[in-house]
């Protein structure tokens, strides 16, 4: 090789290497920043998680949770293992609550309406300005002597927050606190009080029962306390210590809970009460019931003969007798009545019938049956009474009796039946103040939004209802600093109260809700012997309680005798079946709107995890649907995924069809919770809301909407459906994927007869 070339090569190599190195240095990222703490928090080690006990508020069950915090951010919500209800477990909604905290569509600070009502055009204002404006309005109202025109619409507010709100209302001079939740348990409370005289929801001891007869209680996904009940369910099935319990579900639609039942009894909608009473009659007639009032029971139940019941309910006579026989002979047994029985126009009667059934079978007040709960600790919480309901508010609003409306965290514009026209009524209200954290349909109607904290940012407590037989008080503490410029609802009330002055100010002795809560607990500590015995001082008790997540004392469980007397229930027992709107000739199908596992009454619809969570039964994601029996579908000429129009006397909605074997041919079902007009990017413009076509039938005693009280007709529409379901095929094809063993051997172990 010539030397010239050699030098050239060497030169090229050298320059190349040099440039490469320069280039390598130049394009290196400037380097992440290493931001140290200014002052290190004591209990934080970076990269290690801290767990703080708190309370889940995604549904009213009141589970104790642990929130995993790393570097100041909430990372995960888990059940609190010490907590008697959640026991370290948590349901879908509880865990997904995190995405409500970090939801991109939250209201990020106080806002004032700019455009027309409902136009969602708001301008941000400061907190001082917002509270000042609310105060002015309140003062104007009281100056006119119309303090009573202040209404406060809220879901059940747990614990001392509810009390503080009540104090405020009382101090201001209004008694109009309206508690509303689409799926609250007012019917259940009412029926229990009417039949058994108890105020608190009793403990249904599924764990220890041997035979569970459920009338439409979807406890696996939504009813009452899904986590606590599912824990009990697991123990009932394979707890080992008692042998496997049997589970029968009466329901026109095979819900998630019914899918787990050993037997599914698809009774005709609205006749569950008759079935319960027929079973009760069988039990009474068989001589199993040995009470002194046997004769009156016999007389009371005499109309519910087998042949009558079988005809009405569409359940085989033999089967009713068989269930009755098993129900009384398997000890202990337990009957529960859920949304599926309380959601009819005669809901209270149905729940009373379930209580009668429990009574005659001897399931009241025993282990594995129904156990009374007390709420002595908190003392006379109004939560246990059934006060004025939403219909009162709507009527008042319609008649312009509402001068000012405080509205917190429920969404009547969405969760009331379309024919109740709640949104229109609210438009009559001159000034609406919303404390909601999300811009939902109702909040959009408000004039000023004072967004409140989510449960992760706030203080609070809850006296769990239903409690597991003894009192459980769960404390909620702020585990993260607030993500946006929101405030604690308690602080807002205190702020407004102090600004309003007068009695309202006098009722607010503390400056912040945090101190108020602690002070209130100090009073409880002084009152309750169990608490004071557990720690030397209140401070240590408070610290321990915060660490533990609350206060509960299993020893405080009191055995209380429960009974149902014929006198108290007589007026609730009637042969009259549930009423359905629409003539059966024109509207041949019963409509069952039901709470979907992920969204409950629609509050979970803005959470992407829950939207993408397949429905436990249908596996549909990001949508709602109408469940139709294949026979009916064939008759109507619709296929899976087709769009169908569901028409009731009150309107029509469009929904994709889900053809489902597990529903009666004369019934269709639609999950509630989708098709929000407003509720953030994940919830909007999707699916069908069956509430829009429901009548505003209420039980006047409880003001609970009878959701299952209309008939519908269904017609295919030509628009293509876009149903997305994760399971395209649900046939096992004999591949032995879910293997089973017959129940025979299992039952032998546990049978006592």
């Amino acid at each position: 090789m010539k030397r010239r070339y050699f030098l050239k090569f060497i030169g090229a190599g050298g320059i190349g290497t040099g440039l490469g190195m320069l280039f390598g240095q130049a394009i290196k990222p400037p380097g992440a920043k290493l931001i140290p703490y200014l002052i290190p928090p004591e209990d934080v080690i970076p990269g290690l998680a801290n767990y703080y006990a708190s309370l889940c508020t995604q549904c009213p069950a009141g589970c104790g949770v642990l929130v995993k915090i790393m570097d100041g951010r909430a990372k995960k919500v888990e059940g609190n293992p010490l907590h008697p209800v959640s026991g370290g477990k948590l349901c879908v909604r509880g865990q997904a609550g995190l995405q409500a905290l970090y939801n991109p569509d939250r209201v990020q600070g106080p806002m004032r309406r700019k455009g027309a009502r409902g136009s969602t055009s708001f301008e941000p204002i400061s907190w001082e300005e917002a509270i000042g404006e609310v105060t002015t309005r309140l003062n104007d109202l009281s100056a006119k002597g119309e303090s009573d025109k202040l209404y406060f619409l809220t879901p059940e507010l747990g614990g001392h927050l509810g009390k503080l709100a009540d104090d405020f209302m009382a101090g201001y001079g209004s008694s109009n606190t309206i508690k509303y939740d689409l799926f609250d348990y007012r019917n259940l409370r009412y029926a229990n009080r009417a039949s058994m005289g108890i105020k608190a929801i009793p403990h249904y001891d599924i764990e220890n029962t041997k035979y569970l007869l459920s009338f439409g209680a979807d406890f696996a996904s939504t009813w009452l306390s899904p986590v606590g009940m599912s824990r009990g369910y697991g123990e009932m099935r394979q707890g080992g210590h008692t042998g496997r319990g049997k589970f029968v579900q009466v329901e026109p639609r095979l819900s998630l809970t019914a899918a787990n039942a050993d037997e599914w009894v698809p009774a005709k909608p609205g006749t569950e009460a008759v079935l319960a009473l027929a079973i009760a009659k069988e039990i009474v007639d068989s001589g199993h019931y040995k009470g002194s009032d046997l004769k009156t029971w016999k007389k009371l139940l005499s109309p519910f003969g087998l042949s009558y019941a079988s005809e009405v309910t569409d359940v085989d006579k033999k089967r009713i007798r068989h269930i009755a026989k098993e129900f009384m002979s398997t000890r202990p047994s337990l009957a529960v009545g859920g949304e599926g029985i309380s959601g009819y126009s005669n809901g209270v009667s149905g729940l009373v019938a379930v209580n009668i059934l429990n009574h005659v079978a001897g399931n009241l007040g025993i282990k594995g049956g129904v156990q009374a709960n007390s709420n002595d600790l908190f003392g006379g919480n109004d939560a246990d009474t059934v006060g004025a309901g939403i219909q009162t508010l709507i009527n008042a609003a319609k008649e312009s009796k509402v001068g000012l409306l405080f509205h917190y965290n429920n969404n009547p514009a969405f969760t009331t039946p379309g024919s109740a026209k709640a949104a229109d009524a609210l438009k009559n209200v001159p000034f609406i103040v919303s404390f909601s954290s999300f811009l939902d349909e109702t909040t959009a109607l408000s004039d000023i939004i004072l967004p409140s904290h989510t449960s992760f940012e706030d203080w609070g407590d809850d006296f769990t209802n239903p409690a597991p037989g003894f009192q459980v008080a769960t404390i909620m503490q702020p585990v993260v600093s607030s993500v946006y410029k929101t405030r604690s609802l308690g602080d807002i009330f205190i702020g407004i109260g102090k600004a309003v002055g007068g009695t309202a100010k006098a009722k607010m002795p503390n400056d912040t809700f945090a101190t108020h809560l602690k002070a209130s607990w100090k009073r409880l500590y002084a009152k309750d012997k169990g608490m004071s015995a557990s720690s030397f001082t209140f401070e240590t008790f408070w610290r321990e309680t915060l660490a533990r997540g609350g206060w509960w004392n299993e020893k405080s469980a009191k055995k209380r005798k429960l009974s149902v007397s014929t006198r108290s229930v007589a007026r609730h027992v009637s042969k009259e079946p549930a009423k359905f709107e629409g003539e059966s000739s024109k509207y041949p199908l019963y409509l069952l709107p039901y709470a979907q596992a992920g969204h409950l009454d629609g509050r979970g619809a803005n959470i992407p995890w829950l939207q993408e969570l397949p429905d436990p039964i249908t596996s549909v994601v990001w949508d709602s649907w109408v469940e139709i029996n294949p026979k009916t579908a064939k008759r109507l000429g619709v296929k899976m995924g087709d769009m169908a129009e569901i028409e009731s006397p009150f309107g029509k909605v469009l929904s994709p069809v889900y053809v489902y074997e597990g529903i009666r041919p004369d019934t269709v079902a639609i999950p509630i919770g989708q098709v929000h007009k407003l509720y953030g990017r994940y919830a909007e413009k999707r699916g069908a809301n069956p509430l829009e076509i429901l009548p505003s039938t209420v039980d006047t005693r409880t003001e609970v909407y009878a959701l299952n009280s209309t008939r519908v007709r269904i017609a295919k529409v030509s628009r293509p459906g876009d149903l997305v379901k994760m399971d395209v095929y649900t046939d096992e094809l004999g591949r032995g994927i879910v293997q089973t063993v017959p129940t025979g051997g299992q039952f032998k172990k546990s049978s006592h007869h």
């Binding site: 320059i15 190349g16 290497t17 440039l19 490469g20 290196k28 400037p30 290493l34 970076p46 990269g47």
Partner: protein, 170 residues
Amino acid sequence: MKNLIVNFIILVIFVVTLGVGYLIADQYIGRAPEQPINFSHKIHAGTNEIPCMYCHIYAERAKVSGAPNVQRCMGCHKIIKTESPEIKKLAGYWERQEPIPWIKVHNLPDHVDFTHKRHIKAGRKCQECHGPVETMDRVTRVASLKMGWCLKCHAKYNVKNGRECWTCHI
């Protein structure tokens, strides 16, 4: 013709060495970024012999060693050398209640799950990875922090599960 070939070869050599140079720069030339405060480990750890764990308080307990918090710096520098311009900078941060935005010298990719704790507990000296920091005025990275470098050491000390992927990657 011949020139064409020669030029082509030169081009090839150039491109190849460019890559080589880049790799060398990436692998072997340590980072030594300029920091917001001209902090000298030489003075602190070298001259004054302050132990590493005195400031990097999390090294024994957590994955990260933790840059010292501003309070800790101020703990000494409220009294010591308060006149120095660099300390004034520090005091400025403290007054404004701002953390100091140090620039990371030893930056690992996201998918590496390195823990200081295990290494300290296994008796490794800080200097084995970070070099003689006590002699550096400005901290310079001495190791490539590449996977091969990690594994070499794991092999040297015969670490249990030292070559399992999940030891560092999850």
